[in-house]
Symmetry: C2
Subunit: 396 residues, 2 copies
Amino acid sequence: MTGSRVSRVEVPPDSLFGPENMPYGVFAPPDGVFRVGCRLGDMVLDLAALLDDPVFARSEMNAFLAQGSRRWREVREKLRALADTALPIDAVYPVSAVRMALPVRIGDYVDFYASIDHATNLGRLFRPDSEPLLPNWRHLPVGYHGRAGTVVVSDTPVIRPRGQRRTASGTTDFGPSERLDIEAELGFVVGTGSTLGTPVTVDEFAEHVFGVALVNDWSARDIQAWEYQPLGPFLGKSFATSISGWITPLAALTSARVPIPAQDPEPLPYLRGLDDFGLDIDLAVAWNGAVVTHPPYARMYWSPAQMLAHLTANGASVRPGDLYASGTISGPEPSQRGSFIELSWGGTEHIRVNDQTRTFLTDGDEVTITATAPGTEGRRIGLGEVAGRILCARDT
Amino acid sequence: MTGSRVSRVEVPPDSLFGPENMPYGVFAPPDGVFRVGCRLGDMVLDLAALLDDPVFARSEMNAFLAQGSRRWREVREKLRALADTALPIDAVYPVSAVRMALPVRIGDYVDFYASIDHATNLGRLFRPDSEPLLPNWRHLPVGYHGRAGTVVVSDTPVIRPRGQRRTASGTTDFGPSERLDIEAELGFVVGTGSTLGTPVTVDEFAEHVFGVALVNDWSARDIQAWEYQPLGPFLGKSFATSISGWITPLAALTSARVPIPAQDPEPLPYLRGLDDFGLDIDLAVAWNGAVVTHPPYARMYWSPAQMLAHLTANGASVRPGDLYASGTISGPEPSQRGSFIELSWGGTEHIRVNDQTRTFLTDGDEVTITATAPGTEGRRIGLGEVAGRILCARDT
């Protein structure tokens, strides 16, 4: 390591990214190539420069994740020690000066449906003539596979998708989605993979999952409503899923851990463990800068440990870099709904956005999801934000 | 290239793998590492040794696929010329002496539902009280994402999955699937990727798709029936999907091309093209060696070019190595049904297998799917087989 030394990184006392947070991401300095970094305050530490391990010189975190939970703890201890020391000037960059990339190469992407309030709201909206919660919902964490190849990092523009819809007159047409929506979710990034044929138990969650990211699972409701039976959502979701550039390690969320809400009926034994890993994370969704909802992660019915145990219960394996998301986070209050189809109740009620009103997304709109969680001594830590702006549909 | 020269590879006149076929795969010679090869008769040609391109020295075909359709044609011409010449002895191995690996690193795996007879049969079995074909089925190729990380190469054993089911008394339990099934399908391997936001049109199919593989989409019907609403199949499918080790290039299927059956109503313009790419491929499914059904690919309602156009119509991108499968191939006759749930009509009718009877799969059973298609001058070409044996469920 050459270069002059600076004094240690100054972290403002109210920073959401203090030394107890230190999320990881993949960044490129001005005129540099992508590599693994760590955020401290408003600075990014270049781990390829600071730590003697070539896994950090890569453009995705997969190799580091595959090193396993002992190594994750070791690196985190080193980084917390480094946060108190002077650092080489060529290993530290302002957050505002770097470009971020997708932090992991995602093998499989699974999306769950773990909020009882969201599932109930969508049941009412999509199937108004039947029980909103289907019979299986309280027995297992319902989920499905999404498209891994169209997961993009925060700030990637989202082109309004075109697709086939049922028209009011009962015919079909093809055109730009008229009901473009968001889903505010929490994503879980798998670090240690598993073997085909061997399930991961609830209590093995923290050995396999490295950390969390905020997720916006953009959704074209008109396309989804027409296509989704009987095999589930497909093109209504697969055009883009945005995730935050920063991944917060589970180790930073110790103070955020809470019990999950009571489950009735009691889940089958394969969905039970000593450690359910509820998380008290508060999200906020800003639409063109105006916060329109505050989804509370702590209210999620199914825990992330249960989701992983279910996902692998049939012997399916996970790989380093796999991503699974919670599904839309909605609380019981209208001000806690994590999608615009819920906030506008199927497009029938206007949502106030600054001095305008909205139901679904208009071209040019920008949505930014942020979140905070309890840290130690009354402080809070922040998750990396996930943002995206809607571009008009392409001509075909 | 060193080593003594042999006379050219002898291909028996009735071989299904003559010089007009020449499928690609990833193989390892005895005591050697995996690399890209090509099958000719009962021999495997080592392309890393025969052609001057390091892409063939890799353990997956992705880099070759990404070189694009002009390069695919060029390599195929070279191989057809080589088939007529003497070859170095250390570049040719008997098929029986090599191990095969998954030929591609699969980015995303999508499964369609393109057989009208299969969709009708499953609608009758899963939803006996309503119209078997849902309203969207004739308007778009229904599909969903499957698990890419659990796609395995032919001959990989399949462990019977455990999972949650609804019992006859209305409770739930967890245990080894009692309705383990197959789905005989044709898979399409993407070669040239596309750009996020830019759909692939029907007529661009052959520029993007490299070739075809046989697929067995193993299905646990009891798990699937309980979990699949409203987000589609998940654990009932994700424990394993087997594909053939040999990928037949589209260029070998020129004589197999046929029009697709009439579509009513006429599809929307984005699903129409000059070239619908129907394929006259006859499958045979052997259960412990006894052929129990002959699914005809030519009867598929939606063409593979329409599937790809639909999959990307919302701007979703494809990557080299992506796999999409047709869904179960069933013809109108009972002897043409491509799954055991159809052959046994939901487990109510016995299927004769040698001197035994079956409804669903028993531990130790082996299923082998083979297929042939028209070649030139009245000959036929073979697709690589996909086989798998059922191992008993693991203790948990």
